[in-house]
Symmetry: C2
Subunit: 143 residues, 2 copies
DNA sequence: ATCCGTTTTGCAAATGGTTTGCACTAAGAT
DNA sequence: ATCTTAGTGCAAACCATTTGCAAAACGGAT
């Protein structure tokens, strides 16, 4: 029994074809994917898949800690497999997203937790700026 | 001429009653405020204020770098006066938001910029977890 | 102060990502 | 194989945010 299946069962959730398919799709995605795109891909394998099932599965998978929703400053949320200590840089020019490792250690987190009397369960660090190409474009035209 | 007024003019934007009022409201807010709430407050002073004006002003003020939109994991965005180096901790229990100073220095930022060949213009760090009260509640009941 | 061109506003309607109600289907325990 | 209950599919609802358009009002020039 794979990890995801176990986690679902342990929380009393059922392991359905749809959930497995949706999780697979997110798994096979390098980086992040939007709900609509998951839906599009899922439909290719399971034509009766509905968009609400995608959203509902996403909620469950998030709550179970298998999947993470991220705000990339777009109009929609994006989802990805929950991993430790990785964050995003979003280019304000082209929207490209670069991932990078968490640059600070546990000491910092526990210091913050202590200083603010807060139990920290999640860290979201998003940098925005400009990638090399967009930097060049910015320098080029004068607007 | 105050800073905000100058910044607006410099970018060819007009300094309207509405924009000034909206900026004032955000300014007077400790922490963050949602568009709907700005609207509610603005209407008290200027009853014909419309919600779309709030949203449009917010866009302008954001683009001019006076105001910042933050995603607190809610269903709506929140806005606050743009300041340097301050971040948020959101309690998953009660939604309370604690602010804290940016815990990493310029060296780290420039290292990240260099390593990823990325010009960093913005940093958003949001921690989530549990405040003391909600931690107690969690320990208390067994769900 | 007034006039004018252009930006903003107010209002109402549209948008669009996400959620929900409900009858039907299918996990998974017995 | 049966039964109970959670999950699905579909269509409709939600609701924060955006948009079209005519009227209002900035602000530069007169």
């Amino acid at each position: 029994m794979i990890k995801a299946e176990k986690m679902l069962r342990q929380s009393g959730k059922r392991v359905t074809r749809q959930r497995v398919l949706i999780l697979d799709i997110i798994n096979q995605t390098k980086g992040h994917i939007a709900a609509e795109e998951i839906y599009r891909l899922a439909k290719q394998k399971s034509p009766r898949m509905s968009l609400s099932t995608v959203y509902r599965a996403l909620q469950v998978l998030k709550k179970e800690g298998l999947v993470e929703g991220i705000d990339l400053g777009n109009d929609r949320y994006h989802y990805e497999i929950k991993r430790q200590d990785h964050h995003h840089m979003v280019c304000r020019g082209c929207g490209k997203v670069i991932e990078f490792q968490c640059p600070f250690g546990k000491e910092l987190m526990s210091r913050l937790a202590e200083e603010n009397d807060f139990e920290i369960t999640g860290v979201s660090l998003t940098l925005s700026g400009y990638c090399p190409e967009c930097r060049r474009k910015k320098a080029g035209n004068s607007n």
